[in-house]
Symmetry: C2
Subunit: 253 residues, 2 copies
């Protein structure tokens, strides 16, 4: 059994500015109802974490942050806001690299990324910082259940963030929350058409779906949700936490 050979990816227009306490499933359903897309079983709904974080109130008002001495020292080097560094440090479980004002850290959720996933944003003209959801896999699970209750469909859900990478310029979208999908397509032990066994062939399809969705999202249009249609998830269901490499296997801890 192998993949389907056609995918469609739709960017969903009509999601309003999200506020703390909003029901993201309901906002998506409202937007789908005003589009002609519908939502089908096995569709994959991909959502930028920023929308989820805002709905969950994962925002920090910069004016309420008291920077530590360490945050102040970092800021003195880079001429940036010490309160921003303070929040990055609070969201970090461990610093992986720190140089030239850049912090690559492991977040409390276990992901390694720049600035502990803390984004500058604003709400009603007030400067705030947007944090990753506390448990993005749980957020994905709730969103999937919400869509099932509201529309009676069984979809996969991916919550994304955009991460930089060592050695390559630019950021790409990856999965930080997941439900109803297999995060990997595992071809180990299977044979390619020449009869050669496929080695080292565990594909992180959840991350590839996250990246694919970003292509229709657009940062300027308010289009934080995409629907991927035609993808057949196979293999063991899992979470985005499964994408985090075990420290004992990781050469770049």
């Amino acid at each position: 059994m192998d993949r389907a050979n056609t995918l469609q990816i739709f960017g969903l227009d009509g999601i309003p500015e999200v506020r703390s306490g909003d029901d993201v499933a309901q906002l998506i359903v409202d937007a789908i109802r005003t589009s002609e897309l519908g939502l089908l079983d096995q569709d994959v709904v991909v959502v930028t974490h920023k929308v989820v974080s805002k709905a969950e109130g994962r925002l920090v008002n910069l004016s309420e942050v008291e920077p530590s001495a360490f945050a102040r020292r970092l800021a003195a080097i880079t001429q940036r806001d010490p309160r921003h560094y303070e929040v990055v440090l609070r969201e970090s479980a461990r610093i992986v690299r720190m140089d030239r004002g850049i912090i690559i850290s492991e977040t409390r959720q276990g992901f390694v990324c720049a600035n502990a996933g803390v984004d500058a944003s604003n709400v009603d003209g007030i400067e705030v910082l947007c944090l990753q959801p506390l448990d993005p896999d749980a957020s994905a699970r709730r969103l999937r259940e919400g869509l099932r209750e509201l529309l009676g469909v069984d979809v996969g859900v991916i919550i994304t963030d955009s991460f930089g990478r060592p050695w390559r310029n630019g950021v790409i979208n990856v999965a930080i929350g997941l439900d109803g999908l297999a995060p990997f397509a595992d071809y180990r032990g299977q044979q390619d058409p020449s009869g050669y066994e496929l080695r080292a062939s565990v594909l992180a399809v959840a991350d590839e779906l996250a990246s694919a969705a970003e292509l229709v999202m657009g940062k300027l249009a308010r289009r934080p949700v995409a629907i991927i249609r035609g993808f057949q998830s196979e293999g063991t269901l899992g979470t985005a936490r499964d994408l985090v490499m075990d420290p004992t296997r990781d050469l770049f801890r």
Copy 2:
């Protein structure tokens, strides 16, 4: 100006086993003619590097490799084939990490990846190693010109490889060769719908397109080519070499 909100991705069936000296553009055109897809201006044609490498004769017959003392020592630790290590070392410009038999190196092309991008494969039952194209950007350029000559269309071309990443399990498809496309979507200095300036927003869309294409390729079906329709490339044209981070900016050299 922002992105289109719908993409289609087609996996192209009908590409035969590729041999040294084959014209990849002609093979793709033949497969397109037996499909109902056609090829349109602004389509992005995404091709697994293995097909390009084979056509360019970038294969090494394992039986003709004489391993060095260093390759033999590595193989003694891991019980693997010393000739494989020898070829990985020959394709490496610099070793970034080496531990437990795993080699992460910078290839002669400048990409950092496991095993210098050397894949085990076979041709007519003989065990061979498949190397990355010598100059994947040039390969992409030739393929794009070939498609223009044969079909009169102006497409973007991406040549991909699947790379592992630090901190995350599984491999994802990335661009190692590129022509006729902007590798990045650069939102710096622009404002989001809340009027907030987008910082750190240089998206590596070439890598996201590479990952999206992988979702329809399948490793078991012989489907090494995908066509992405509906993507509007904007910004400065470039090459996959532009995706390689400058050493002075890289915290993980």
